[in-house]
Amino acid sequence: MRNRYLLIAVLVFVVVGPFILPPNTVAEMLIFGIIAVSTNIMLGYTGMLSFGQAAYFGIGAYACGLLLKAGYPLILAIPGGTLFSMLIAAMVGNFCVKRTGLYFICLTFAFNQMFYFIAYVWTDVTGGEDGLADIPRPEIITTPEAYYVFVAIMFGACLLAMLKIVSSPLGLVFRLIRENPERAAAIGYNVGLYKWYSFMIASGFTALAGTIYAMLYDIVPIDQIHWLKSGDFIFMVLFGGSGNFFGPLIGAVGYIWLSDSFALIWARWPLLMGCMFLIIVLYLRGGVADLIERAYGFLTRARRGAEPGGSAA
């Protein structure tokens, strides 16, 4: 029931958003929203902190951009880019999930940097330092409005698919692994395999978001595959709240708003972000979503307390 209200709130944002903010900014929020929620499947649900998700975002974006530049239609470029990136993620994930904790983080980070340097030196294909430019937007979504509708539909489909995953038995198995991997194995789950699934699901949706991103500004800048971008994804999840499915969306919206709109007012906006990150890590471990929940709980309790006999509840 609660999820239903939150879904409606998201829908309202998707519809009203482009009338308040530039459509491209809102489209970017939705794209990074997909990434933040999918990263949280790994971080919040399975307990795996990956510092390498930008690799799959970037590979998806580059692959889709190259396919579009080669004249392939949208209907092939998006699945093509996503599947290619997932294939890479499948191989990398296979190595990474064999290790836990710090070693897992280091491996994901190392692979991310490897792909960054490949993109950096392979100038003929990726455009190197200049990024992959002049990506043509397919005719059907040339106008900003059409592109926004396309992004909104993809966002909705991804969000529903991910909600389905985390609220199914597969989501429960992910939470078992987060809580107690040894016990999860002792009751019969192949922990390594399910961690790999979680890695693949997160990377798959991130790659899909990457393919959509390639058409946003018709360019894939090289910094989109840099590990700092992976750090941004983690920031979005922690800022929004990793304990809640919808929390990371708040993180993505907040982050894009700061980097796109607020940056115009104050160029040193990352300073503000750093302070906010400190506050969240020190005092607000559940992120903004947790703050909202606590405030809601406080208000309902206060209201009940004001009613006669209500305080007992």
Partner: protein, 249 residues
């Protein structure tokens, strides 16, 4: 009577120190087979070797005639071996129902499609989960998070998770550890009831329980079995008395 579990020459060294030094053990189907011994005798290590938590240094373990010596721990529940841990080892942030449901699902799931179906589409698993929770007396706590349970209730949940694997052989590692007398009594009753349907390999420190419920007792000391037999035989055995009282010979 056929033996369901056969261990031959099971050996485990930790840095050259043998914790389990050549244990031969046969567990008969339908029995409650207890393993007793002083602290540090190697009982829990022996359990960890059977359940695949630790690799053996030498020896073989057969379950129903299948070699499970090197089977990874996540495979054993599917073969019919389920264990409970000495230190409560549950999923604290999940509800009691989810804890038990997940253990049952690991065993009862069908194809990959089942992983994406709704929870309401598994009426069988839901019903059996409720039955197990009722059996261990936690029905009133089913929707509570496991971390909110008392120690005694956590021990019961631990057994419930073990039961939910629908095993043929249950490995119970000190299920009554740290329990108050009343809760110990409940746990003993539960184990006795379970004995009608399962083979149980039990590690236990409370002698009156071991003597009351066991069919066979093996005594482990310094990693070796020093005696095996029915409870009254073990009680009379001088070697056992020496091991427990530390009498000099």
């Amino acid at each position: 009577m056929t033996s369901i579990l056969e261990c031959a020459g099971v050996f485990k060294n930790f840095g050259g120190v043998p914790a389990v030094a050549g244990v031969d053990l046969q567990v008969e189907e339908g029995h409650i087979h207890s393993i007793i011994g002083p602290n540090g005798a190697g009982k829990s290590t022996f359990f960890n070797l059977i359940s695949g938590e630790l690799p053996l240094s030498a020896g073989t373990v057969y379950f129903k005639g299948h070699d499970i010596t090197h089977a990874p721990s996540h495979v054993l529940p599917h073969m019919g071996i389920s264990r409970c841990f000495q230190l409560t080892n549950v999923f604290p942030k999940l509800s009691v129902f989810e804890n038990v449901w997940a253990a049952m699902f690991a065993h009862e799931k069908g194809g990959p499609v089942d992983f994406l179906r709704k929870f309401t589409r598994f009426p069988d698993i839901n019903r059996k989960t409720e039955e197990i929770i009722e059996e261990v007396g936690l029905s009133h706590k089913a929707t509570e998070r496991a971390e909110t349970l008392s120690h005694g209730q956590s021990r019961m949940l631990e057994v419930a998770i073990t039961l939910a694997g629908l095993p043929t052989l249950m490995l119970l590692d000190e299920p009554t550890q740290g329990l108050a007398p009343e809760a110990t009594h409940e746990m003993t009753d539960l184990i006795k009831r379970l004995a009608n349907n399962y083979t149980i390999l039990l590690i236990e420190h409370k002698m009156h329980i071991v003597m009351e419920i066991s069919d066979v007792i093996s005594v482990l000391n310094l990693g070796q079995i020093i005696a095996e037999g029915k409870p009254d035989e073990i009680q009379r055995n001088e070697l056992v008395q020496d091991a427990y009282l530390g009498r000099l010979r």
